[in-house]
Amino acid sequence: MAALKKSFQLKSRDFMHAGEASISVQNMLKQIGIEPALIRRVAICAYEGEMNAVTHGENGNFRIEVNTDKIILDISDEGPGIEDIEKAMEKGFSTATEEYREMGFGAGMGLPNMETNSDRMDIESEKGQGTRVVMRFSLSPGSRKNET
C-alpha cells in the first residue's frame, strides 16, 4: 500500500471548525478498512491534539500519514509552547483558562489520553517556540503497546 497522507491547517480559537480534522481522519481510516478498535485510539489522540492546537496554539498544522506498518499523527503549532513537559504530562494538570474550563476543556487529561492511546508519543516544545506532538500507531498487533 502506498503511503496515504493528509494535512489540515488549524486556526487558533476556531471552534466552528475544531474537530473537523479528527472527524475527517476517522472517516479516512474507516474507508481504508482499519480495524475499529485502532480507529478509536487514533480518534482520541487526534481529537486531543487538535483541541490542544486550537485552544493553546497559533497556526496549527495537523498531519496524518498511513503507511504499510504504521499510522503517524503529527500535530504542531506556533503557540506559547510547554514550559515543563513532565508537569504537563501529569493527569489533572492544566493551564486552561476559566473560559475554556467552562466549555469542558482543561480536565488535564489531553496529553495523558494521547500517551495512553498511542504506541509511541514524542513531544518537542520550548517556551515561546511552539509545540510538536508526534504519535505513532502500529498496524501489526504484535508490536503494540496496548490494545484498549
Binding site: A18, G19, S22, I23, R40, Y47, M51, M103, G104, F105
Partner: protein, 117 residues
C-alpha cells in the same frame, strides 16, 4: 432501543439531528469534561451532559454516539444545532437531571457492556 424510542418513551424533545434518530443505543454516559467523555464514553452511547457549545458534536461523532441529551432544560447554542444536523447527531432536551434520566435508561435495560467499548 433506538433513539426515536427513547424520545417517545421518556418525553424528550429533539432540538437537532433529527435525521439520526434511527440508531440503536448501546449504553449511556454522564459527563461534562470533554476529554474524560472522549476517553471513557461507550461507543454508541447516549451522552447526558450540561455542555451546550458546538464542541460536544465532534466528541459525539468521534465516539460514534447515538445521541446527546442536554439535561436540566439546557438549550444548545445555534452553532451546536447546525453541526448536529450536518453530522446527524440527535441533540435531545430533558427537563430533569442527568441522574434521573440515567436511572430511567438503566431501568429500561440500557446498560454498558464494557467501559469504553
Amino acid at each position: 432501543m433506538k433513539t426515536q424510542d427513547l424520545i417517545d418513551r421518556f418525553g424528550l424533545t429533539a432540538a437537532a439531528g433529527k435525521d439520526g434518530t434511527d440508531r440503536e443505543i448501546a449504553g449511556g454516559y454522564c459527563g461534562d469534561l470533554l476529554s474524560e467523555v472522549m476517553a471513557n464514553a461507550p461507543i454508541g452511547c447516549v451522552w447526558m451532559t450540561i455542555q451546550v457549545h458546538q464542541n460536544i458534536v465532534a466528541v459525539a461523532v468521534l465516539r460514534e454516539m447515538a445521541a446527546i441529551v442536554l439535561a436540566m432544560d439546557n438549550q444548545p447554542d445555534p452553532e451546536t444545532c447546525e453541526k448536529a444536523d450536518r453530522e446527524k447527531i440527535p441533540i435531545l432536551l430533558y427537563s430533569g437531571t442527568s441522574y434521573e434520566l440515567a436511572g430511567k435508561l438503566y431501568g429500561a435495560g440500557i446498560v454498558n457492556k464494557t467501559a469504553g467499548e
